[in-house]
Symmetry: C2
């Protein structure tokens, strides 16, 4: 018996289930695999022996289509990091025991750079012990910060949500003829890719954000206020987008500031995001109407506005990860190589997971405008293809239909 | 010359431009109107003589379709409340002067209950002075709180956004196998209709919010914590939705601890942050992972997930308002009367604006479950038809295409 195990890990995205669907689709066209299992809640579900049989789902084309439309990890997720097996191999032994019990020869782990750390360590451990088990990673992260892949599945859909929503917010805030500042805080602790995507809202000729601050560049309160005042000379409504992880020159996060000094009725200091901190700053320094908005969970869960390109590529990466495993590759991650921008085309490759695990790919500093408050055309050229196309959702009763696997 | 003036007022919605499109469409099939103007920024634009000629747009079917897809008020908006003309008629004189200058015989004002106050006062003033000008209101508000209309245009689209997004958030938060509470704060200062719409996320059989708190019922911190603990006995992840305007038994807003004390020009208190307050409470009383999410501007601007039913009805209400004006009605508002639920059908009527202005229609207390933390089947039956159908958006470059009128 040669069985396959698949699991999902890390923060959910709108496309991570498309990668799972890709794995399951791929199984239909090979005779090398007998049974396919899914582990609940990532590697934790392996350790705790919570495997579910996915063979039926894999044969159900309708279920696979629904899976591509369902946000977040249908198999559940975890944020568990394996210890170093040379120090403590108890979890590794447990995992191998489960693999043996279920005759797992292939393991595909869909996740971000922390999950690739798991792929790396497991592969090293299996290799060291001469266990014939192939461990392959399939990437996902809305943050687009994985090494060695042109871009990350899940990012395109989040970027499309952000571009669409910023275009809508721009329409909304422009209705009043009064000085106002709207600050939108976007996910990205260390990489500003998602915040940069707010610039795509300008693609149809409308004005997008007036000011864009990525976490790759030092943030300065003084420059920010000066920038806002400068924009206000030309227009009343200022729209600002910024990464949650913007930092001052001393390396401290803007969000760490509790400049308001306010406490709630429980005596807790008001824990503010970067957007909230700057909302207070604008109120204090400029005194106009100001609001801050957080895209929060929505930016990673909004599968109803997923990018068709992203969903298709995510699916292909699942198939590619499976192909790598069947071809005998291990300790590798499926990845995307861009072939050309016009027409947009990509190839699916495999890269050593060791060079992906625990690395972060940031926005190149030359793709941020010299003023530090916008992005360049090069960035737009890179990002635009990733949000193209709309998924045809199955709506029932007025809301999108999703699938549950357990 | 018999000209028509149309303007938009109050908070934007995803459907307010569909009502404008309805007015403009209607003009094509009557010979009673020579020219159609739009005032920028509501009644303020009348007073400041900022009228734009909409005759060309009205004839451009493509532009009208785009208008139905464009969120927020394409003519701009305001929150200006007219003084009582018996005390001070200076603004009224100015308005009449502009109406005379542009030969305005018909004025359609699209807005919520504050805007209907403007319709009411203007009509009274014109009548008192024997000016032959007809003033008709067309409703809009995401809050669904207008009197004498079964429901409000703009509400269905906001409700569809909320139901869709809550379904997605539910998928997202369920991925981790850890105790966690997610609190979603939804717009609604005095009426809980939008928060109630979160229950529609269950329509396809999935679990929706576990607890729903509307501002119509007294809120209690103790009961809330007890409710959350009760849910946690059965499942780890608790999803809560609540109205921004939930109040304690003493009448104070839950959010008052974060209130700035500011009031808007209508005397409404600026409130924000009930979700944040309860996030702290859960952290203190239960100690598990907890986050709060605000739907903020997105819930009223998300035209990309607009309800087709809402957009069609909003359009029809614009046509109905025009029809009322042409038929000699004044001081009236176009409204929706539900004829049946199954099949869903409505009629368009006109109602005296006096009974709409400055009133608020709340969720009937019997539509809230006795436990105070959910809604009843009757509410679902009422609300479900309003989110049906999806608008076919014109996407270009990966984002929805919008129109600008100035």
């Amino acid at each position: 018996m040669n069985n396959l195990l698949v699991a999902q890990s890390g923060g959910p995205t709108a496309a991570i289930n498309a990668t799972l669907a890709g794995v399951l689709q791929g199984i239909q066209v090979t005779n090398q695999i007998d049974k396919v299992y899914g582990a609940k809640h990532g590697i934790n579900g392996v350790i705790s022996d919570e495997l579910i049989d996915l063979s039926k789902v894999a044969k159900n084309l309708d279920a696979l289509e629904l899976l591509k439309n369902t946000p977040a990890s249908a198999l559940g997720s975890c944020r568990h990091k394996l210890s170093n097996w040379k120090d403590d191999d108890s979890e590794y032994k447990k995992i191998y025991e489960i693999f043996t019990k279920y005759h797992i020869k292939y393991f595909i782990y869909i996740g971000g750079n922390d999950s690739m750390d798991t792929v790396y360590k497991l592969n090293e451990y299996f290799k060291f012990n001469n266990y014939d088990i192939r461990v392959v990673g399939a990437p996902k992260t809305i943050d687009n910060d994985l090494n060695l892949t042109d871009h990350c599945p899940g990012f395109g859909s989040a970027a499309k949500y952000i571009a669409t929503t910023i275009a809508e917010i721009k329409k909304d805030i422009d209705v009043y003829d009064l000085p106002a500042v709207t600050i939108v805080e976007i996910m990205g602790r260390n990489a500003g890719w998602l915040t940069a995507a707010s610039a795509l809202s300008r693609l149809n000729g409308a004005e997008g954000p007036d000011l864009i601050y990525l976490c790759e560049k030092e943030f300065s309160n003084e420059r920010f206020i000066a920038d806002v005042k400068e924009v206000m000379k030309k227009k009343k409504n200022v729209l600002v987008t910024l990464s949650e992880g913007i930092k001052y020159s001393d390396g401290s996060y803007v969000s760490d500031q509790n400049s308001s000094g306010e406490v709630d009725s429980f005596g807790h200091k008001y824990i503010a995001g970067a957007g909230k901190v700057l909302e207070y700053l604008v109120r204090k320094e400029i005194g106009c109407k100001v609001r801050s908005v957080e895209f929060n969970i929505m930016q990673r869960a909004a599968s109803h506005v997923a990018s068709l390109t992203d969903i298709k590529e995510s699916c292909m990466l699942g198939e590619k990860a499976l192909r790598c495993a069947l071809d005998g590759e291990s300790g590798m991650m499926a990845a995307i190589q861009r072939v050309s921008n016009n027409p947009y085309s990509v190839e699916y490759i495999s890269v050593p997971v060791e060079q992906v695990a625990n690395h972060e790919k940031k926005v190149p500093i030359e793709w941020i405008s010299p003023s530090g408050n916008d992005v360049t055309e090069e960035l737009i050229t890179y990002m635009k293809p990733l949000i193209q196309g709309e998924l045809q959702h199955r709506y029932e009763n007025g809301i999108p239909k999703h699938i549950s696997l357990f």
